[in-house]
Symmetry: C2
Subunit: 440 residues, 2 copies
């Protein structure tokens, strides 16, 4: 498939290329970096997501005749730039934090090496993908950490843009969700899909009993019946009567959940449906999931809060020029000095410093070093884990990060990373980043 991604881009990326081609600076070798100045308010850590999608989109970042004609007709750039765009493909090198990795303020999440023009033009796309997907993954990881091992399903496609729903399902899965309602996320990224019926299915039928019978006829008694269209207690009684004690699950989507879930469990047990699970799905977020810690919930469905980053719908990442080579071939660190928006110049690599128990104690950003240097500067008392891996080398994408396989790999990496974080990371209350960022 892959229509071009080149126009999901800010106009100024192209006008900068145009002016730089004219001034003779377009081919200067540069390094750009994506990072977040802060975590979302009160969060203890963030989770990187979107990388696997981004690599596909960078590959699809091509200007076809349709784009070139539009740019010419609208006088966005001039002919030498049109010619350059017609030939565009990213031929530089990108290092990045692995997808699923934890990050902190100043972590150099993506470093992009190449000519000014070929790097700057990817800015909007890189930030769109990282900001949205990381916002979802960062919220999802918190929900997983308070779910006490009970599975979470992402069901928020209807609460975000129709393409973002696919990205959100994938990001939540990487951060530990078990499944999604979104079919495209199943097809494109291998995320397990789930879902049975909504209230409309019950209301379509002449009675709740007709609806339950229809659903069980279609999917067998192991299905999930939605029992709160009218009265929950009557709905549960009916569900067990129709499905028998082999009923797979009931779903409750309204009301005061701790009370309702406790009552539902008692009722199910008294009806002999001791193995019937209880799924809840009513405007849940990390706080309401935590409030259900002691309730006999078997599974959670989460919508709005996960796909909108639970109060932080954009991760706040920025993309900055940090160094360029001068005419003598030496790297020159550059940084703006705008108040509260200053950046740290220079090429960088990063390691996570672990103590002797394997617990993260600091994010160490090594300034002026080459990302390709994999020597960890370990301190005697612990070890350092190298954070940047090559994603694209001289224009060639590492295929192992792509597709369903890359998504599975990111999910596994995330699970390992979470074991490394200090326990304080998992408190939901507001606080500072759980480890400091040290610049060396």
């Amino acid at each position: 498939m892959t229509e071009t991604s080149a126009f999901r881009t800010d106009r100024y990326e192209l006008t900068m290329v145009d002016a730089a081609i004219q001034s003779g600076t377009a081919a200067r070798e540069c390094q750009f970096e994506a990072f977040a100045r802060h975590l979302p308010s009160g969060r203890r850590y963030g989770i990187v997501a979107g990388t696997g999608r981004l690599l596909d989109l960078i590959r699809a970042f091509r200007f076809t005749d349709a784009e070139l004609t539009w740019l010419r007709d609208n006088r966005v750039v001039r002919e030498p730039t049109i010619a350059w765009l017609a030939d565009y493909a990213f031929r530089g090198t990108i290092w990045g934090y692995r997808e699923g990795e934890a990050y902190f303020p100043g972590s150099p999440l993506i470093t992009v090496d190449g000519t000014f023009a070929e790097c700057v033009i990817l800015e909007t796309l890189i930030l769109s993908v990282l900001n949205y997907d990381s916002s979802v993954a960062s919220a999802a990881a918190r929900m997983v950490s308070v779910s006490l091992g009970r599975p979470l399903a992402e069901m928020g496609s209807r609460r975000t843009g129709e393409y973002s729903g696919v990205a959100a399902a994938r990001a939540a899965y990487i951060a530990g969700f078990a499944s999604t309602s979104n079919l495209e996320a199943g097809r494109s990224w291998g995320v397990p899909t789930m879902g049975t019926a909504a209230h409309s299915f019950t209301l379509l039928h002449d009675s709740e009993e007709d609806a339950f019978r229809a659903q069980i006829a279609a999917f067998g008694p192991a299905t999930t019946l939605l029992v709160d269209t009218f009265d929950v207690a009557a709905g549960i009684e009916l569900a067990v009567r129709v499905a028998g004690p082999a009923l797979g699950s009931i779903r409750i989507d309204s009301g005061d959940l701790p009370t309702r879930v406790a009552e539902a469990r008692s009722q199910l047990d008294s009806l002999g449906a001791v193995n019937t699970h209880i799924t809840v799905t009513s405007d849940l977020d990390e706080f309401s999931i935590a409030a259900l810690s002691a309730s006999p919930v078997d599974a959670f469905g989460v919508g709005t809060s996960v796909v909108t980053g639970s109060g932080s719908p954009a991760a706040g990442m920025v993309y900055k020029l940090v160094a360029h080579r001068d005419d003598a071939g030496d790297w020159v660190p550059v940084a703006k000095t705008s108040p509260a928006k200053s950046s740290v110049g220079g090429r960088k690599r990063a390691v996570r410093r672990l103590d002797s128990a394997g617990i993260a104690r600091a994010e160490v950003v090594l300034i002026g070093e080459d990302p390709a240097d994999s020597t960890p500067p370990a301190e005697p008392s612990g070890r350092d884990r190298v954070l940047l891996v090559p994603l694209i080398t001289d224009g060639v994408i590492d295929e192992s990060y792509l597709g369903a396989a890359g998504t599975t790999r990111a999910r596994a990496h995330h699970a390992a990373v979470m074991q490394e974080l200090p326990i304080e990371a998992f408190r939901l209350g507001r606080g500072d980043p759980v480890i400091p960022t040290l610049y060396r």
Copy 2:
């Protein structure tokens, strides 16, 4: 173009169709309705957006062999349903609020008539588009209302999913923004595009002066120079020295804006650049724009807050079955009774009640009436404006709502609607919906 939109959908829409086909209820004639139970917290009105995009996406909602094979291989639905999906195209009728219209709690924003199966399957898509686009338009309208006629540019593509950025640019434009940074929104929807350069362009060059000279060589002195990479006062002095007093605009992206803007204006005037405009772009939202009311700002650029709905990233719309025909052909209103999530059953139409001065006083929802009835139930003292218009009739889309022309039309309708709202609607403070919703 138009790849199929059918998989950007929740799995349960398909399993409901599957069960209903098996139970013989799939062809029941139904009416579904999209509405919002509440406005986002503290808002006085909401703005409907997404309709023009949605109609395109409904047309593209087709199951090709690729989707059918995946559904079969993954045993999502069975063969009779596969056959039904293969033939799917929406052949029913959709009425809706015009794009750009104001809405209130309970406003029947979209009514969808057709068989159960053909209507229910559109649920996820309808809600994704309306929820996201309306969230952006609702936030954008508030920003426009406090901008005192100064133009706003949408620049948030990098702060939302890479497709959502296009939708956001379009929604903000409908709600009164003047332009966008997003190229695809320019190409697909006719939104004016803007943008010149980022800090990286300055940092690329050996000096700020080199960068300014390069930009002016490319775009002439009428361009916008970004003056805050290092020191703002020095940047402005340099900008006017390089461009001359014909400099089009300076952009300030950091610092305490009221102070900086006042200083910048004085400095520009003292340098003779009395016609040079000042554009500001630093994490603006409706509140910071309002705080600049008395400042000599000429244009605003808004990013994160507009594309994420300024605190309300999903508009909270739901899609409910409200009526179906019984075997005798009569409409039966249906509604769930779940606490705090109950819905109002019955087919509906809606009018906005205006007083003799043409100011909106109530949203009147007429229950049990046919959307096709255009007779306003006017009260003697005023007049009623009919809110629902036919968008799709027996499967045929009204083309006048599509594309750039439909977007322009929505923007004009929005501007007219805003003139009708009571003045209290434009206070930024939290409050109730500015007019009540009356059910009749």
